[in-house]
Subunit: 388 residues, 2 copies
């Protein structure tokens, strides 16, 4: 797996395996269940050979065989390398092993399975994404959603975890930018080829990620962002990350497709609530309500749920307490019976409190010791401390 | 329990019981655990007698005994009646039996237990609250919270369920008004006496409820709204209603106290989410996140959770037994190539079927989805369904 000056037999086999995977990757659509599962079952080289051979024995398969025969995987790899792309396959040191869980996850829209390989552009190694968090959501995000996505992504980034998203308008780009602002690595998984930029408006951001993080795609270089590729792409986002946060999603948002994959993969799925009057939060609320997603409100919530060693105790904003909270039930009862703006005698306080005057007398002395009441000539009064 | 023209011995006992309860109610604070549990254990009359008697034998109890002896419960009832108040006690036809669950619910802040009785002003009978829904929340509500509270309360009211709340500023009053707007009965449970109005700004609303619904309190007539009484009052709100909705609540909001009671009583607790940037939603989010409250976004969500008969899921019709007959010719061809008693790889199945391995791969996935084959580590196997 590490580069050897003289190719060993294993390295040669590995290279043949990689070339077979390049061909199979180019042959099928991302997430084509037949290809991913047969590759897993038979191995890439064997499947490649069988599909090539079928051209000669079975007329119906000519199309596949002919397309395979016409491919030049070595040249594809060379061309990709010139664009700064590498093709990462199972067995590579960089291969993100968490993708293997896709082998047993139930498919969705006939897409599924462990990808044959992933095209990568950028310095970040994919095996560094095991602790990453996906932050996704609606393209048609609100400023509220954008703000929360950026804040959560920044908090995730500051904790040392890369942020994975889809490079799309709305929540995705807000998440990438939040991570960039925090100086944290962030990865865009695209539905088009990793050499391309989609949407075009995000050229600057995506090129920035290619320089500092990674741009990843299961689709071969040059591929256009077809709808079916978004569905396959979403499974890669969910499978790469340790957990997925959906910030805003309308009822039929594509972000819920990513959410579905997180659930299929038994990874933490988290949802950020919003106003119930906002259509952009309806899909998230549905996921939380159904018990599919955990409600999260901030980066600390997310980090707690994606868990891991050394992160058990993320600091939460403290809940303010008052001197009053430290009192016993009975002392509070007496304190409450002291008028807010005037003085009163113990007997009057006892009547208001509904307690015996003896007991109230001893309670008032204890409250005085605690600095909560003052004994004045006009009667008992609350102190500033008691009013706080 | 029904009014008799000539008082029967039972009716007389019942009246003595009611008078004892009036005295005990006046003696202690609402939700005083000692009083509620001793009343339940000994009966109101016996406890009343014992406490009166203790005055003579136990110097420390003089205060209690003296206060009890000074009370005139019959006169209290008369005076209350002149204010339009009745005192509803266990055994009355109107007694809301759902309050009995307070007997076993864990106390909170040393408050708890079944109230000795409830003071009621208004035409609505308390036994009509078994299906009611409590809608509560912050006094410092946002316009968002107010709007959602009113909408949920209106939807609950339109469904024929009374709305219970606390008559306070913010969410409470929005909920009452929502129910009133929907022409639905609504009940305010107050921390002060049911003859009083708190807060004073809600005089008009509370008098409206007293004419059309009910104003309820565990505190005796004339009692002031002390903080401790709010805590006891909250348990009555939660215990009267079939479920409690918290619309907005900051981290330390009193509404969370009512929420805690709903949980203690094993009643559905529901929370309305809001922007994570709103402090007024933080307490609700915490409850949802902790799994204590279910997320609800509208009246329909609430009604689904408070449930009732006739709302169970309709069972799906079973799949017809002739599963194999429903298959296409090609799928049957592949199915027939799967060994009857062992497992086989897709390539072997393809050879037997005389078909291409890609096509067999996709057919196997479709057969798997139909429950006819299983993908095992040893290869593809027939299921029971395929063998049938």
């Amino acid at each position: 797996m590490s580069a050897a000056t003289t190719p060993s037999p294993t390295a040669v086999v590995r290279e043949r395996e990689r070339l077979a995977r390049v061909a199979l990757n180019r042959l099928g659509e991302p997430g084509d269940l037949r290809l991913t599962s047969l590759t897993r079952e038979l191995g890439a080289e064997r499947l490649h050979e069988m599909l090539l051979g079928e051209g000669e024995t079975n007329g119906l398969q000519t199309d596949v065989a002919a397309r395979l025969a016409a491919l030049d995987p070595a040249r594809e790899l060379e061309q990709a390398a010139r664009l700064g792309l590498r093709f990462v396959v199972p067995g590579d040191a960089e291969w993100p092993v968490q993708l293997e869980s896709l082998a047993t996850a139930a498919p969705l829209h006939e897409r599924g399975g462990v990808p044959v390989g992933l095209w990568v552009r950028g310095p970040l190694r994919l095996d560094e994404l095991a602790r990453s968090v996906a932050v996704v959501g609606s393209r048609a995000a609100t400023t509220y959603g954008d703000g929360v996505a950026a804040e959560i992504a920044a908090a995730v980034g500051r904790s040392g975890r890369p942020v994975v998203s889809g490079g799309a308008f709305g929540i995705d780009v807000a998440a990438h930018r939040g991570a960039v602002t925090a100086g944290a690595p962030t990865v865009a998984v695209l539905a088009c080829g990793a050499d391309r930029v989609y949407p075009a408006a995000h050229r600057e951001l995506i090129e920035h990620l290619a320089r500092t993080g990674a741009v990843v795609s299961e689709a071969a270089p040059g591929c256009a962002p077809l709808r079916i590729r978004f569905l396959a792409r979403n499974r890669i986002i969910a499978a790469l990350a340790a957990g997925t946060v959906v910030v805003e999603a309308a009822r039929r948002s594509g972000a819920l497709n990513t959410a579905g994959w997180a659930t299929r993969l038994h990874r933490p799925l988290m949802g950020v609530p919003g106003p119930v009057t906002s259509a952009g939060s309806a899909g998230v609320h549905e996921q939380i309500r159904a018990g599919a997603a955990a409600l999260v409100t901030c980066g600390a919530d997310v980090l707690e749920l994606v868990g891991g060693a050394g992160e058990a105790l993320v600091e939460r904003p403290p809940v303010p307490g008052t001197a009053r909270d430290a009192l016993s039930h009975r002392l509070r009862q007496v304190l409450d019976a002291v008028p807010a703006a005037s003085a009163a005698g113990a007997d009057s306080i006892a009547r208001v409190a509904g307690l015996g005057v003896l007991e109230v007398g001893s309670s008032l002395l204890r409250l005085q010791a605690a600095g909560m009441v003052l004994d004045t000539p006009a009667g008992w009064r609350l102190t500033e401390l008691a009013r706080a």
